[in-house]
Symmetry: C2
Subunit: 152 residues, 2 copies
DNA sequence: GCGGTTATCGCAACCAGCCGCAATAGCGGG
DNA sequence: CCCGCTATTGCGGCTGGTTGCGATAACCGC
């Protein structure tokens, strides 16, 4: 029963191959981390992932989760974003890329299309030759709701 | 009642008054944190500040430094910026505001004028009513030197 | 100045995340 | 199908930073 349908994005089968192609191995733990990321498809924390997995496989160590996230990131399969609270959030790389706005007063999170951030990236590239990854860190500020309240 | 003159610079004396005006207290430790920030005027880490102070006053606890930085930030005397390495850097609030670019490959730090970032802030304000603080987090990416090396 | 209120301190415990190490287990070759 | 090489695991311990707590000491009013 080997690789058949190339349904959409990344069938579990091909991920394994991709991992092996770089000399890395597809372990149970690694697969579990990927599954957890797929299920909680939105920015999860490593902690979240770890505890979700441990409900079923209590022997899996948190550090294994951290190392796997890192390894999968190297492969380009997952990415992380820094939010304001000092925990890092992880998600599958193929999820469409977007920027994040975080309200420092109410904590609300907004997503904005990359197209909005792109002009700045272009400018940084032109002026400084700097290839910016604007999705990597959330933009902090004050959301419209909080801004209007505080100015009243 | 003496609080009165708010000169815009911040002579040590008036800082004390400003602190007291909000019900906070001007302690030795707090003064030491401020002094350390003045000396190392550019983005220091809390750790740096703590160890600098402890050379003279070994009994001062790191947590005190952290709490004081926070308290001083609430007063608007100090601000912090998040760099890539998850280390927070602190500086006096009156230091001129600017953006930061960080190369994820060589770690180089570039400073850019706020005017470069301003258009994005304006757009976020217009489209989402979101008042962004673009100096708060450094922009990660790849600097021109590293970019040209890796593409060769 | 003196005393009471309470912000702040130092300490110890805690948390997310990371690292070194010995044991385990994928994977490719025979 | 088995073997050996070595990536990866689980564990224990560590780091940078944060928090809860009882003790201490600024500040304000008298």
């Amino acid at each position: 029963m080997r690789a058949r349908a190339i349904t959409h994005a990344t069938p579990a089968e091909s991920i394994g191959e991709r991992v092996r192609a770089t000399g890395k191995r597809m372990t149970v733990q690694r697969r579990l981390v990927l599954e957890a990321l797929q299920q909680a498809k939105h920015h999860t924390t490593a902690e979240e992932i770890a505890s979700r997995i441990r409900r079923q496989y209590p022997q899996i160590d948190p550090s294994t989760v951290y190392r796997n996230l890192e390894a999968l990131e190297e492969l380009g399969l997952v990415t992380h974003t820094h939010f304001e609270d000092r925990v890092t959030r992880w998600h599958l790389a193929d999820a469409h890329r977007h920027g994040h706005l975080i309200c420092r007063s109410c904590g609300a999170e907004l997503e904005v299309p990359m197209s909005l951030l792109e002009p700045l990236a272009a400018k940084l590239r032109a002026k400084h030759g700097f290839v910016a990854d604007l999705a990597h860190s959330a933009v902090v500020g004050v959301c419209s709701a909080c801004a209007s309240v505080s100015s009243r």
